[in-house]
Symmetry: C2
Subunit: 397 residues, 2 copies
């Protein structure tokens, strides 16, 4: 049910003709309240698409009623005209819903550097509004897909046990997502809309969303490329009347985001292996993330995994590129374990790499022990494959 | 003639059996003086190979007489035993040449994480010493090749015109190099030995080498991966008796390094396009380099070039990942020109991308104008191809 799993939300997904395939390409999600809390996080790319600029402003006051999303065009690098297109889309949606344009967010994904076909898009918005329904979440999830082979949706329901206090009870978080790295020739744009009927204020929504994305979506690094359009939106209706604590809500939101993030990695079309790089023994979590990210961004290591080669030398050479100031460690103490086999011990040769059988396992887990502290972190990626090169060279996107 | 183009040098390259193919794999370069000046720059990877550790110490006093180089094994991540192997190699070479072990440098390239076959290597060192000759430069250049299809050599000869002062006259820089990025499944190790008969002191050698490598080898970024073994050595014999100025020598050395760097890019086996990313209008040269490097490290952009797609959206999205603190610019003013066609103007759509014909040209020149200042820089790379993935997944290296 995705974004309509929680009470107080309607959604729809329709085909407006933006995609040459004729598949659904416009989605609308509406928060019917009573609350209209919103929080959103966006790409940190300085070249940001027009809808990102719009939505960043629109979400700044912590209030929003609706989100319109389109696939089939990113509306990025389209100049002032592109921003006007986004503005028109927001105004059109607002008029159809009888709300303020400032209470709407816009998300786009697709080819960079071309204008959107506005007549088709606005007609699609009308069509989506006409089809809004409290079970339209799955249609919406389909309409935001680009090269995704399956929609990504999640529902997390929390029910308090025993004598529930009046501010607890049952509450739900639903969500949908598309994209990520190898999935997307279209610059890996990741779009995600999360909805909840928990009664939370804008401050909690914002804190929880930042905490949840920082350890989930921010740690999926398929090909090191940052999109111009990445957007994660959280809408809260308060319709359940339940008021979870900040910790409860943050935990549940993190669970929802983690599920969607793993679904993104799991659907990477070009990939033959899902790789988790876990760095332990770091001085800080930031240091662990930096080291893990260096490994997940090594083309040589990722190509080796595609070849089912547990090439720990390429892991170590990537680890060694992280500056001492970022992650203190002694290179002569590094240990590397791949799928349970300690192939590198104290910076040198460990157990036989032949003991690692990557050919028969899609999942690859690399553990790097820095022996420098107690902090750890995991970053997820995929292998570098012929299909990745094919997808990203054969399409203009 | 490579490293023996300058007076005062002998070299040799022999097959010692380190490579399973039986091709040459051990090279020795000897400086017969009268001067024994050396300077060297090394990988900044914190996981450095044993020969890097040795040579860094050995070159620290600015004096060296000989360099021994082997392909067929990197001697990296081999622990204390690996360092002893390098030490033994240096002592063996020193004994054969009747010099101090502290006047020898060692370079290795090949598979990480396995010990070198020392009996074969030491026998190879003896064989190379027996074959040292003043025209052995080409043999040496062959012996350091890994997946290079051709040896990379250069000779720069400077003759002063007219009434030469006694400290001018004719002097020469010779050099050989191997490797770089896509060329090398073996972690892209780049080895380079430069020789000169100019009469220069250690301080000038060091300053000139750092200046020359900073704007040549340091700006070739084939796949963003940093080797554990990269080494560039400059030996000066003073045999010509010519004393060029610091500026003259630095210019000539830069010319030699630039030639070798371009040869490395040009022989990238996996590549179908050589890409030069030139960033102009930057506030500083460092800012220009940072922006250029962001583009040369974008897998999405490099895969697009493989598909002959002048995908300026992927250029812009890479440019946008550089923090404002590193490179100030206004995203709405960015211009991008690809092979002479201005495909992006003021951050938006420019001339038709169809005007760019990448299919019929190996060379791709991308110019990004930041409109923020007067500084510029160029970084060279290759496209991301099926052959790159094949080479780096099909071999354990």
């Amino acid at each position: 049910m995705s974004v309509t799993s929680a009470q107080g939300f309607r959604a729809a997904g329709v085909a407006a003709g933006l995609k040459s395939t004729g598949k659904p390409d416009v989605a609308v999600v509406v928060n019917d309240g009573p609350s209209d809390v919103v929080s959103a996080v966006f790409t940190s790319n300085r070249v940001e698409a027009a809808p990102v600029t719009w939505s960043r402003q629109s979400a700044a006051d912590g209030r929003a009623r609706a989100v319109v999303l389109n696939s089939g065009g990113a509306n990025a690098c389209t100049g002032p005209e592109g921003f006007l297109d986004t503005h028109r889309t927001a105004e059109h949606l607002a008029a159809a819903l009888d709300i303020s344009p400032g209470d709407t967010l816009v998300c786009s994904t697709g080819l960079i550097g071309t204008r959107l076909p506005m007549d088709a898009l606005l007609a699609g918005v009308d069509d989506a509004v006409a089809h809004l329904s409290s079970d339209g979440g799955d249609d919406a999830a389909h309409a935001i897909m680009t090269t995704d082979t399956v929609p990504k949706v999640v529902t997390v329901t929390i029910t308090s046990d025993g004598d529930a206090a009046p501010d607890l009870g049952t509450w739900t978080i639903g969500g949908m997502a598309k994209g990520a790295g190898m999935l997307a020739p279209g610059l890996a744009t990741m779009l995600c809309v999360l909805t909840t009927d928990a009664e939370i204020d804008a401050a909690l929504a914002d804190a929880a969303l930042r905490a949840a994305t920082a350890c989930t979506f921010d740690r999926v690094d398929s090909d090191g490329c940052m999109s111009t359009n990445d957007t994660v939106v959280l809408l809260a209706s308060g319709a359940s009347g339940s008021r979870p604590s900040a910790e409860e809500f943050t935990d549940a939101l993190t669970e929802a985001c983690a599920s969607l993030a793993r679904q993104l990695v799991g659907d990477a079309e070009g990939a033959s292996h899902d790789i988790a790089v876990r760095v332990v023994g770091a001085t800080t979590e930031d240091a662990a993330v930096a080291v893990a990210r260096a490994v997940t961004r090594s083309n040589l290591f990722k190509a080796a995994v595609f070849g089912n080669d547990p090439n720990w030398g390429r892991v170590l050479s990537a680890v060694g590129t992280v500056p001492e100031s970022v992650a203190p460690f002694d290179a002569a103490r590094l240990d590397v374990t791949i799928n349970g086999v300690q192939v590198c011990r104290a910076g040198g040769v460990g157990d036989a790499r032949e003991l690692v059988d990557l050919a028969s396992d899609r999942d690859v887990t690399v553990v790097v022990d820095l022996h420098a502290g107690d902090a750890e972190a995991t970053v997820w990626t995929n292998d570098l494959t012929h299909d990745y090169v094919h997808e990203n060279s054969a399409y203009s996107s």
